[in-house]
Symmetry: C2
Subunit: 335 residues, 2 copies
């Protein structure tokens, strides 16, 4: 392995000069810089990561705590993971993946050994044990999702309450008075994934204000659950005239198919709205008006927060992203 010593020797300078040439932390004469660059190129030198970690203060590695549940949606999960990797790489960071029951203990391990400079946590719950953990470890961290006790830690999330409100208000504006909602598997609520409660609160508040009725169904992960949820809503005595989807893509696809099978035209007979979609609602069989989860921004923001907090978690703040509603013609006035 080529070391900085050999480069220095080859370039006829001291190792500190090579180091500074590499980091750019002090000015180097043109001639010296060129000699160093040539030596580096010719020798094929790459600085040793371990030595850098030890001597420098940083590792240029970020940990991603990515818990996956049995009823979780793998494509959604994977998109978050790859977006975090992208954002990290754009900042010259590598990502260490903590998964498979190692999402919590792994944080302690990699942080206490100074393997990583920061931690990004996804799949955040209301009483997330990782909050206290990163606090006690004093490691820079950012949560994708807002836990109950978020004081002093960095979080980023879509404004789910506002997303729900916008969905309801959009439908109410078109005269809908009974609105169906198909939600994620109920396990999401049970394990207190934070966005669920905030979405539900937003729904209830907006519905109360507008004086409209909300009918709720939950689409489990099993095959046919989306269709069954749609049936349950539409078979009711007073069926909704609009449905808000707050569930994963497979359930939406099934529901759309069932709607079509029932001979209902969208939006003439039934309005559909995708809320906080982790997929592209514009590419469904029936493209849906709605709000898409800003994954890219969420992950970018989380990575930046996890890297910026060099002095610990104290200065961190919560960032709530405003939902953007895109109209695709799946919502219309009640006939």
């Amino acid at each position: 392995m080529v070391t900085i010593n050999e480069v220095a020797k080859a370039a006829g300078v001291s190792i500190s000069t090579v180091s500074y040439a590499l980091s750019g932390k002090r000015s180097i004469s043109r001639a010296t810089r060129e000699r160093i660059d040539r030596a580096i190129r010719e020798l094929g030198y790459t600085p040793n990561a371990g030595a850098r970690m030890l001597a420098g203060a940083r590792t240029n590695i970020l940990a991603l705590s990515a818990p996956l549940h049995a009823d979780g949606h793998l494509p959604t999960h994977m998109r978050f993971v790859t977006e975090v990797v992208r954002a990290a790489r754009e900042r010259d960071y590598d990502v260490l993946l903590l998964a498979r029951d190692d999402e919590v203990t792994g944080i302690r391990r990699v942080a206490s050994t100074s393997l990583v400079d920061g931690v990004v946590a996804m799949g955040v719950t209301e009483r997330d044990e990782r909050v206290a953990l990163v606090r006690s470890l004093g490691v820079a961290a950012a949560f994708i999702g807002v836990p109950g006790d978020s004081g002093g830690i960095a979080c980023v999330d879509l404004d789910f309450a506002e997303a729900a409100r916008m969905a309801v208000e959009r439908l109410v504006a078109d005269g809908h008075r009974t609105i169906g909602v198909i939600g994620h598997p109920h396990g999401y609520v049970d394990r207190q994934q934070t966005f669920m409660a905030r979405f539900e609160d937003g729904l209830a508040a907006a519905a109360a204000e507008a004086g409209v009725r909300i009918v709720h169904e939950w689409a489990e992960v099993s095959r046919g659950a989306g269709a069954r949820a749609a049936d349950a809503l539409l078979d009711a005595a007073e069926p909704p005239t609009a449905i808000i989807f707050h569930c994963n893509e497979p359930a939406v696809e099934e529901a759309e198919r069932r709607v079509r099978e029932r001979g209902l035209a969208v939006p003439q007979d039934l309005s559909l709205f995708a809320a906080a979609a982790s997929y592209d609602p514009g590419r469904l069989e029936i493209p849906l008006s709605g709000i898409t989860l800003p994954m890219e921004e969420m992950c970018t923001s989380a990575v930046e927060a996890a890297l910026g907090l060099r002095d610990g978690v104290a200065q961190a703040t919560t960032r709530i992203l405003a939902p953007a509603l895109v109209d695709r013609g799946s919502v219309a006035a009640v006939v």
Copy 2:
């Protein structure tokens, strides 16, 4: 941060003794060991990762090169990733995820800086540039999939040719003479994912030997592709009496639904077989007889290979796993 020095001081021993107590590389008296353990516990000591990497020869980090294509199946991809993480963690290794166009260049980066001890590569293609790369870098590596030029490198894969042969032979044994095959998106073939050619070769060889006809369709990722493929097969002048699925779960689900819609009973009217399934064919709407991809074993084997090769890539070998056929009643004799 607590260092080994402080532990040594607190325990009243030298740092080398502490180090050896930690690594277990030389025997320590019971009394000394207890004093050290207590000091470690009381001080909350955890060895510094950077220092370990620098002084020791290893980093306890493994890189996972995980290319993802537009037509790739995210759940399958994710399962491979998590299985690699599991296998790595069981061996006290962490996984650094290389993705998002960094699957190749990332290998060079993490290997040349000695950030990782080994590399596991998935999504292997026939002429995979990562093969030459790991060879030139001299980094320990293991491929999940067998590239064209696999000499001297570690690979592990299911025996796709044998899987195809078993599928054909199973159907032929029940008298099927025209067999339909629904394959992965054709992009898999175009980019030369190695398992595709081997599967196709096995199919062709087995069909030729048995003197039966193979009719091929490819299910793209678009919605409805699985159903269309099934229709294309069943609408033919001489429709197959059996279908082998060598595609992802969504396509299989669609095809099954279409089969049902066409009023065909399985296996009375049509036999179905899942070959090299990345999902559980037993949990489909119509449970399928077939061969499941042994992901767990593949990933475990890859991780072990990537870790075992301490002296470079020279002693690596290819490991081909035998397919296991499980009968679930979806195949029967032609009427």
